[in-house]
Symmetry: C2
Subunit: 199 residues, 2 copies
């Protein structure tokens, strides 16, 4: 039974930090996380929560903060990455398909690598095709399935589930009914799952 | 020479955490912080950065997150505290006067205590009067000086200085020309001041 649900959206910039550091982090702490994908843009638009559009100072800070923390975690990036991305739902529907089997996490990590290391916009055809290749999947076949109404409905259902839990941004971590928002709350979430409080 | 400038605004909710934990934190790490007050609402309004108004989910999360971290730091609070506060400039002008001498920090901490522990709105007459009493000041005299045009101009000048540094929210920490935003970036700021990177 996973201790922590990790809710993310391809398109979220801070999710880069979590997506890239999470596997090692979880292994070192012997903790199981369940990766769950949703459409954060849909939730944020519905809640009138638009943190960066038309806010150049805050946006510049975001990239600087991510850059500093990328170095802290020993990751690589070339910033700013293309932002915002234009087609967020398709990439997240692909991730959803992958998370049903074993290739979801490699796909998401490669999608972020291409976006943050190589400047290939997440969700673009080039990004999805290459990330699927790297995850050993057939892009034509997967992208066709990602357009399937069943897949569209499944991402919408996960987005509703996230909203019902109180998730309003990405990345978020949910432990039982407790929501932790932001890559910088990952340690709080682990503490909550083990101690019932933030240590 | 202080290593870190601590920029805050009475009225900022997350600044409660920093204001209350900072003196012990700094003593334990042998670090000097210079407390600097500005009018964050002015900056945020100018930058179209309104994080909580009309965002009930995000606001509810903010209080919960603050509550969890209050417990983590061994602080006390009764949440939610009155928010937003109606008269932010007056309280911050009083703080500015106090920070010129020795009673600034005791005043700010008592102002936050009254606001977060006892539900007495920061910046209200009851709040300022009692916080000044606790800081051994004469409220009548100080409140009169806080209305002085020189004091008004001084807070405006500090607000401009903060903006020029790239500060867009409170609390923020500035090390040389590097800005760190949020109580949860205090450790990053210290690391930057000592190592030149975030460890």
């Amino acid at each position: 039974m996973p201790e922590i649900d990790f809710w993310f959206s391809i398109g979220s910039t801070y999710s880069f930090l979590t997506v890239m550091r999470l596997p090692d982090w979880a292994r070192e702490r012997d903790v199981t996380l369940r990766w769950r994908v949703f459409n954060v843009r849909h939730v944020m638009t519905e809640q009138n929560n638009i943190p960066f559009a038309n806010k150049p100072q805050k946006s510049a800070y975001m990239w600087r903060d991510i850059q500093r923390r990328t170095a802290k975690y020993g990751l690589r990036c070339t910033l700013p990455a293309p932002y915002p991305i234009s087609d967020l739902p398709l990439a997240n529907r692909v991730a959803l398909l992958g998370l049903r089997t074993e290739w979801g996490i490699p796909f998401v990590r490669n999608c972020y690598r291409l976006w943050f290391e190589d400047g290939v916009e997440a969700g673009s055809e080039a990004n999805l095709t290459e990330a699927l290749h790297r995850a050993d999947q057939d892009p034509m076949q997967v992208l066709a399935r990602a357009q399937d109404p069943e897949t569209v409905a499944a991402l919408a259902a996960e987005t509703e589930a996230a909203t019902a839990l109180g998730v309003f941004g990405a990345p978020s971590f949910v432990v039982r009914d407790e929501v932790f928002w932001g890559d910088d709350r990952l340690e709080d979430a682990l503490s909550w799952s083990r101690l019932g409080h933030v240590a």
